[in-house]
Amino acid sequence: MLRKRLISVLTFCDGVLFRTKDFTPDYRYTLSFVDAWSIDEVVVLDVTRTDAVARPAFDAVIQQFASQCFVPLAAGGGVRTMEDVRRMMANGADKVVVNTGALERPELITEIAESYGTQCVVLSIDAKRQDGGGYRVHANCGQAPTDLTPAEWAKRGQDLGAGEIMVTSIDNDGSLEGYDLDLCREVTGAVTVPVLIAGGAGAWKHFVEGIDEGHASAACMTNIYHFTESSIRSAKTYMAKAGVLVRQ
């Protein structure tokens, strides 16, 4: 039986892991975690805010992970052109995460799928709850609202060639109060490709909820679970006890 996945999402700024503990940078989360810990997949995102096309520091991050981690590696952040995609793939990424670049030019999804296969394209959707109900997709790191609902954008993305959809709740991100399960169900109900849920996990039970109630194929965790070597193993043990089929 296919296992549900637990995915570690790491954000980098100028090549430095962008996370803090007690407001000081924490560098303990190193490459060696990957083989020792039972993480199922790694996503590295570049959040460097610069217009520069060349990002050698992030290139180096991808190269390091690719040469030392023997689990799938997805890379993203600022992907707008096939040149960005080719660079990430050449550096060793297995998949590319697209977000604003695909909203600006949806054909980008098809171009990547045609060159590297649909399994290479992860469409990342940031969505915000509307006052009157429902959700809207936001571009530019959640800054720019669009007219699209997450369900229609996910479906369109799938039709254009996305192999997986990653859906993040802007409202819940960083709240540690759990994923937005309604949002996830809207998306899982609209597409037939696997959906990754992100934004808001603060306890292991949230991973279980994302999978059981959000119908996600994978639960994404960001900084809070990067503290110790035992975190991922404990999370998996918790999920297995709750009846979720995971790789342990």
Partner: protein
Amino acid sequence: MPETVGIIDYGLGNLRSVASAVEKVGFTPHITGDPTELAQSSHLILPGVGAYGDGIANLQARDLIAPLNRMVLQEQKPILGICLGAQLMAKSSSEFGDHIGLGWFDADVTRLETGDPSLRVPHVGWDEVDLVRDCPLFDGVPAESLYYYVHSYCIVGKDSDAVIGECNYGRRFVAVLSKGHMCATQFHPEKSQQNGLTVLRNFLTHFSCCANG
């Protein structure tokens, strides 16, 4: 010149992660699309992700099909196909129109229809290999190990003697083929942590021109 593992560069797939894994298990990878260089390597790996038609077209465009046929079928150089590379070793595929494969295994490639909306396609993630016969590829790998798969099409075997392992995702499909010096895995050994690395090491140590064929 020390013996190298020739990783066939035909413009598709993550060659770098395959090369990293080969290095990790103690061998020297050489990524190349040059038939002369490939002929000098001790082993061949045909990686690949992407579309079947592109795979065959790229092999053709790089004039690799005849040299590969010679190396694999006549010289019996050990070869491991991974994912799309495994599928290309089959006879044909229905992906985006019918395509003729390399035909080294008597098997076809067909779209993975799970018949169950909860079993989403592509089949992405960690899943089993149900071994149906012994194969040195799996020496030292614990039973019920998990491997990383990512694919929308699957191999359906005809030559049942070559089928080593299967996977079940809405339907049974071929996860591993092996016959003589030829091996093929639908999963990604280079992305399957320790178990995958063991399979890769087994291929490089247990399969050689002299010992097999």
